[in-house]
Symmetry: C2
Subunit: 219 residues, 2 copies
């Protein structure tokens, strides 16, 4: 029997919800970024500092994904930004359906940008579109400089790489070759933007803020 090409891709349940999220965000004209990293790379601290430093310029909403607890949403709410916590109860990544429910609870119309902080995991979240405009991968210098070659998918798919905790490079407290990370990440992804930052001391954060506000202004 000949194969019949029905001419359309059959979407998975996750892709259907990702498309819904993308349409919802596009209608309201709000950019949305999906933050992905290992546990403990400093995603929440990065968001807290970004929200605080840009509080007069940007209204930020956050969707927080964690296996358990609402520790991270509480940290975001302490800045007065709205945050919706999703507990995945053991699942290793956020799904587009979960994000769809959370978007319904966020006051999207009153915001300038939505961040999704995914479950801390450098592997699984890279395979699930959530309807975001771009993925942002965060790598702490304490994790070592071999991560782009060992976990290539997320570096290949991200718009931005935030190399965090660069304060730990001072006095060579951790062994980390930033040039190696740049070269390996660019080999996987020619257009990736790379910003070395310390969310703790503020070093380098202005470059990230300039990129972020540029993304919002260009819409």
């Amino acid at each position: 029997m000949d194969k019949i090409d029905v001419g359309r891709k059959i979407l998975s349940a996750n892709e259907i919800f990702a498309l819904k999220n993308r349409q919802l965000l596009a209608r309201s004209g709000k950019p949305c970024f999906n933050l992905i990293s290992s546990p403990g790379s400093g995603k929440t601290t990065l968001l807290v500092r970004t929200i605080t430093d840009l509080k007069d310029a940007l209204r930020v909403g956050v969707i927080e994904g964690d296996l358990q607890t609402d520790i991270d949403a509480e940290r975001i709410r302490a800045t007065k930004a709205p945050a919706i916590q999703i507990n995945t109860e053991g699942a290793c990544h956020l799904s587009a359906a979960q994000v769809n429910q959370a978007l319904a609870k966020l006051p999207v119309e009153g915001l300038d940008v939505v961040f999704i902080e995914n479950v801390g995991n450098l592997v699984c979240p890279s395979a699930f579109e959530l309807g975001e405009d771009g993925k942002i991968v965060v790598l702490s210098v304490a994790e070592g400089d071999d991560k782009p070659v060992k976990y290539p998918a997320i570096f290949a798919k991200s718009k931005v790489l935030l190399v965090n905790k660069i304060d730990l490079l001072e006095g060579a407290r951790v062994d980390f070759d930033l040039d190696r990370v740049r070269a390996d990440a660019r080999r996987l992804n020619k257009t990736i933007e790379i910003f070395p930052v310390s969310a703790k001391t503020g070093e380098g954060m202005q470059n990230w803020y300039d990129w972020l506000t540029g993304q919002i202004r260009s819409r």
Copy 2:
């Protein structure tokens, strides 16, 4: 229709291979530990230092799990210990079938202990038994002290928690409350052994070596 209890649990494919691995290791009397952590917590560095410091007392073999590359197996082989690399090609954890193939290639009879270094991921590997005698979770102080409450499964299931990179606590370079981690881990797991160590400076490693050699002697 009444339900019929066939009186036995149906094993998954993974559980069947885990049982095979357990039987193989039990026959040869070799203990086997499954190291699990986030990417970049220092599992390979811990193994390299353990193998080097105990080279006159213990013959160690290693099964290395990574999405890509054989960087970690090469680091182990540089110590002269045998290492078998498994590339999961994107999968977020090792399977018992992969470990079964690797065990066939390791010279198990000539070893005192087998370590499996799982894919860097604090979530997925905790759900897949590999036939090991125990899981060992590694947490770098740079990841923060909220990880036991945020990723409880692996802390609940592990025999040992190695709190690594304690050299970074000096001068308060990272914010990390070891007492909080101890309390949260023990709340999840009353019998977990907790060893604060620095695989870089060697601090605290003797306590880990004493535990490890005790496990081997007691068989």
